[in-house]
């Protein structure tokens, strides 16, 4: 492959968030210097000062992310298409990578907004939070454009290391420590497995870039196949597909909720996009075997995710298993492996972002007094006290369940159409059957919110940043429920077409 001239502009999104991370680090130091002269400041003043600094940092990070998203969208509109690196292509700039970059940027942006009032509420308002979040976002930007095993591995580590730290960010809370530990240990093992798989692929094909691997892969052979299996296993861990999902419930529950929201949407997006690119570029004629393997993973994830979610009493845990189930739905698209399926997967990820951020935002809006209100009983009678919050929560849950009238249904619908088209009837039936199971647990929250009496009376209020996030997510879910493919406001953008353009990266 002829390497293109190294175009620094192509790195703009990555550059913006990386610089943003450095700026927030510096800013925190400078601002806290000014705020805490001397040790004699009383704790109350310190807290207030911290909260103010946190807002400044959040704005700085938002600015960095918005710039990155703007750059990505600009690149997408212009239809850039280069594989680049200073010498040999490491990253690929194309519709898929810019689409995913914008999507991940959106997830990161919403997570930053979620954190503004949540961090002070849990008393973990430290500037490093935003820097870590931005660094992880940078890692995902690398991940979604990686066309080489080396950049894939580095992107993965850059994504994961900050999240390990973020998961343990609530240092006073044992649960948070343990979540971080568990995520770290299992993640490190998974990435070692992935690395070993990469080494084997390299050995079998003599290349580390995806196209080189696809040329060398011809015919497979035991070495290449076992390498492939290990790589898929390593990536499956990141997107929490059964049987590599064991970390999910504990980490979702233990990590601070804003971190959970962040990783639930962005890591999943990045992981699925890189898996997609790897499968399509490195295995152009994805064999029957790989399809069957992915199908088995999909079926297991749907079954186990949905069944386990039914018995959970903690909302975050339940959502973790539901995340496993959704990973299974997405894997159905992977098993189908047609261009329509890739489009459906990307659209699903897009919609999934709003539903998931929205749901976790409601959990965050309930947090107060340094404690999370995340057991199902904590939601009882919410509708009588905070009706708007209960209403949007119901909307998000219905969307996750895939009830018509929500964007979640459209996403599932496109997936089903693509899978039927590819003849994956067995998987579609599993999808449908497990969706029936999922109604049980998604329905529980609306039922307790609307039909039971309020037990506790926290007088928390939804902060304005949370209102913005909730309104945005709810509006998006309603809008894309009806206009996934239409353009009633004449913006010239139709969501499904955008996803289709992004999925068309192979030609």
């Amino acid at each position: 492959m002829e390497a293109e001239a190294f175009d620094v502009a192509a790195l703009a999104p990555l550059g913006f968030v990386a610089i943003g991370a450095l700026v927030t680090l510096m800013l925190e130091v400078v601002l806290s210097r000014r705020a805490f002269v001397g040790e004699g400041v009383d704790p109350e003043t310190r807290l207030v000062a911290r909260a103010r600094i946190g807002i400044v940092l959040a704005f700085a990070s938002s600015a960095a992310i918005v710039l990155a998203m703007y750059a990505a969208i600009y690149q997408f509109e212009l239809g850039f298409e280069t594989a680049f690196g200073p010498g040999r292509p490491m990253l690929q700039l194309d519709a898929l990578s810019t689409f995913a970059t914008a999507l991940i940027g959106l997830g990161a942006l919403l997570s930053v907004w979620l954190s503004i009032t949540y961090l002070p509420a849990l008393r973990i308002n430290h500037g490093e939070y935003y820097a870590l979040l931005l660094l992880s976002t940078a890692g995902m930007f690398v991940l979604v454009s990686a066309v080489d095993l080396i950049s894939l591995y580095l992107g993965l580590e850059l994504t994961s290391l900050p999240i390990y730290a973020l998961a343990g960010f609530n240092r006073r809370r044992l649960r948070s420590n343990e979540a971080a530990l568990k995520y770290f240990l299992m993640g490190a093992v998974a990435s070692a497995v992935l690395l070993y798989g990469m080494a084997l692929l390299y050995g079998a094909t003599g290349h580390t870039d995806f196209t080189g691997i696809s040329q060398g892969f011809a015919g497979g052979g035991g070495l290449a196949l076992s390498g492939l299996a290990l790589v898929i296993a390593g990536l499956a861990f990141k997107v929490s597909v059964v049987p590599f999902h064991q970390w999910t419930p504990d980490v979702y529950e233990g990590a601070p909720t804003s971190v959970t929201a962040f990783m639930a949407v962005t890591v999943k997006t990045a992981g699925f996009v890189v898996l997609m690119r790897f499968l399509v570029l490195a295995l152009p004629e994805m064999g029957e075997k790989v399809s069957v393997l992915l199908g088995v993973l999909a079926g297991l994830s749907m079954l186990i995710g949905n069944l386990m979610a039914v018995v959970q009493d903690n909302v975050k845990r339940m959502l973790a298993y539901s995340a496993v189930a959704h990973a299974g739905y997405l894997m159905v698209g992977f098993a189908a492996g047609t261009p329509e399926a890739w489009t459906a997967v990307l659209f699903y990820l897009f919609v999934y972002l709003f539903m998931t951020v929205g749901v976790f935002c409601v959990v965050i809006a309930l947090a107060q007094g340094g404690r999370e209100w995340d057991s199902i009983e904590d939601f009882a009678g919410l509708a009588s006290q905070r009706p708007a919050l209960a209403a949007v929560m119901t909307l998000f849950l219905l969307s996750l369940a895939g009830i018509p009238g929500t964007a979640g249904f459209m996403a599932k619908f496109y997936l089903v159409v693509a899978a039927v088209d590819a003849g994956q009837i067995a998987l579609v039936l599993i999808l449908v059957g497990t969706s029936m199971v999922s109604f049980f647990y998604y329905l529980r929250l609306p039922v307790v919110m609307y039909m039971q009496k309020r037990r506790q009376d926290p007088d928390a209020e939804t902060s304005s940043s949370e209102i913005v996030v909730l309104a945005l997510c709810a509006a998006a879910i309603l809008y894309f429920a009806f206009f996934a493919q239409a353009d009633p406001f004449g913006t010239g953008v139709r969501a499904l077409d955008v996803a289709g353009r992004a999925a068309d990266f192979l030609h």
């Binding site: 018509p404 009238g405 159409v417 009837i425 449908v432 029936m436 329905l443 239409a486």
Partner: protein
């Protein structure tokens, strides 16, 4: 000024008017509070808004739809079609034929009556209640007029959400259980239908058709009368070499599950008594009056015409289930001690009649089934309304707690007697015509089925009259019953409004039949045309050439 728009989009106006006023209700309180500087307006304001919008909807459907509907013309009328998700062949596509017309009228008629009847029943969150009722009306009307499979599915599922909340928030003591059960049964049942829809859609495409979810082929401005539904050739069995999931037998099964749960047919009926007993009066009436009709309507509109071979193959089984429903429903109704539960089980029996008529697959049977849907909606609705009135006075529905109500409440007794007669199918009232046609059709299809069904008629008379006797006659031995106040004007008007069409249909059913029959006969022709005899592929080609 709006005239031309109203003309061109008549159905949409009817369908979306309730939802629009419902949304108005949601925002109105804050707006009014802001403008008038008050803490919201009294409940009666919201009730008046809801009442007037539903009444307007009824008037519009009566004069607009019924008035402009041309009984001479077969096929769909007043059609509207707007691109929605065009790349997937999904359109906002509505239109009415005789079958949907009467059901639309039934729905829009019941809604204001229900609101009137349950005027004082809801005492908390009444604005939300009215919103859910209005949203429910839009969803129901939209389902009846949908001519696009996808749109139908979406509305079909969306319909359950308001009902879930109506039962779950304003229902009786076991409301959470009942609401959840109702929702899970009906929503999960339809998921397989979605898969079947998608499969049919793909098959249509693979056979060279467009990517299309429209039920009828759309030519020019309006669908040509009698045009085939979706030009797809669906093999009857796997013998043609098709994979199992592309055969009519399986696809029909998926549809039948969704519709059968909704009807409800017997093995899937268990959600119904719970939902009815726990629901507030308004919910019960709508549930019995309209929602149950959705299942039978779905069979007529979608399952039969799309899968005629499978419908024939399944017909004996479905007839059997319908008969089981009739007999079982009647027998269980007989031993009920709770009036509402009794009415709920009688609904199962009545819907068994409807399904019997549908699967007679002949003109009398199907016409009778459609007519019976209307009758059942009116009569059972009135029964639930009356039960609601008595429950509001005594806070009990146990038959044993009553007795001798004729003395303190003569008007109530008279109206209940009338409605019971209507429900039994007394000649001269609506129920008689429908049941008679069904039995006639069923006799033509299978005499034995008609014979068994007749026992259902007898049983219905037995349990209804027995209930009536125990509630209204006999000694007035309970002291609580002595001081009961008779129905007031509002209540009399509500029941009277329901009684009016019952008499009208009984005396003069021909305006209804004149509109239902042509549509039914087209439907049956359609089925015959699409039967996959061996020459079907050539017939398919011929049809494709016929149409541009």
């Amino acid at each position: 000024m709006l005239g031309p728009y109203v003309d061109a989009y008549l159905i949409s106006w009817v369908v979306f008017l309730p939802l629009a006023s419902g949304l108005l209700l949601l925002v109105a309180n804050s707006v009014a509070g802001f403008l008038l500087r008050s803490n919201g307006l009294p409940k009666v304001v919201w009730q008046v808004i809801a009442m007037s919008s539903t009444s307007l909807t009824f008037v519009a459907s009566l004069f607009g739809l019924w008035g402009r509907f041309d009984p001479e013309e077969t096929g769909y009328q007043l059609v509207e079609r707007v691109a929605w998700l065009p790349d997937y062949g999904i359109h906002y596509f509505v239109g009415v034929d005789g079958i949907s017309l009467v059901l639309v009228l039934l729905t829009s008629f019941l809604m204001p009556v229900v609101l009137l009847a349950s005027w004082n029943e809801i005492d908390r969150w009444s604005r939300s209640y009215l919103f859910f009722m209005l949203a429910l009306e839009t969803a129901m009307l939209g389902t009846f007029v949908s001519l696009n499979l996808f749109q139908f599915y979406v509305l079909w599922e969306v319909m359950m959400i308001p009902m879930l909340f109506i039962i779950g928030i304003w229902g009786g003591p076991r409301r959470i259980y009942a609401a959840t059960k109702f929702f899970l049964f009906t929503v999960s049942g339809s998921l397989l239908m979605l898969v079947a829809l998608v499969i049919v859609y793909r098959m249509n495409f693979e056979q060279g058709g467009a990517l299309n979810f429209d039920l009828v082929r759309f030519v020019g401005h309006a669908p040509v009368p009698g045009v085939p539904l979706l030009d797809t050739v669906i093999p009857a069995t796997t013998e043609s070499g098709a994979p199992w999931w592309q055969t009519q037998l399986w696809l029909f099964g998926a549809f039948a599950l969704a519709f059968g749960i909704k009807v409800p047919m017997v093995p899937f009926h268990t959600w119904l008594p719970d939902a009815h007993v726990e629901a507030p009066t308004g919910g019960s009436v709508i549930l019995a009056g309209v929602l149950l009709k959705m299942g039978a309507y779905g069979f007529l509109r979608f399952a039969l015409p799309l899968f005629p071979d499978a419908a024939l193959a399944w017909a004996p089984w479905m007839t059997g289930l319908a008969l089981v429903g009739i007999v079982y429903g009647s027998l269980v109704a007989m031993v009920q001690r709770d009036v509402k539960k009794l009415v709920a089980y009688s609904s199962i029996a009545h819907l068994g009649f409807v399904m019997l008529g549908v699967f007679a697959l002949n003109l009398q049977g199907v016409t009778g089934a459609v007519l019976q849907m209307v009758n059942h909606g009116l009569a059972t609705g009135a029964l639930f309304v009356l039960v609601g009135f008595i429950y509001a006075r005594r806070r009990t529905r146990e038959i044993a707690d009553f007795g001798g109500l004729a003395r303190p409440m003569p008007v109530f007794a008279a109206l209940l007697g009338f409605v019971v007669m209507a429900s039994i199918g007394l000649p001269g009232l609506g129920g008689f015509v429908g049941e008679f046609l069904i039995l006639l059709g069923s006799f033509g299809a299978d005499p034995w089925a008609a014979v068994i069904a007749t026992t259902g008629v007898v049983l219905a008379a037995a349990y209804m009259l027995w209930m009536y006797r125990r509630v209204v006659f006999g000694p007035l031995d309970k002291p609580e019953n002595r001081g009961l106040i008779d129905l007031d004007l509002r209540e009399r008007v509500a029941v009277g409004l329901l009684a009016l069409p019952i008499v009208w249909i009984g005396v003069n059913p021909s305006p209804l039949l004149r509109r239902i029959e042509p549509s039914v006969s087209i439907l049956l022709q359609e089925m015959e045309l699409r039967r996959s005899h061996d020459e079907i592929p050539s017939a398919f080609e011929a049809r494709s050439q016929e149409l541009p």
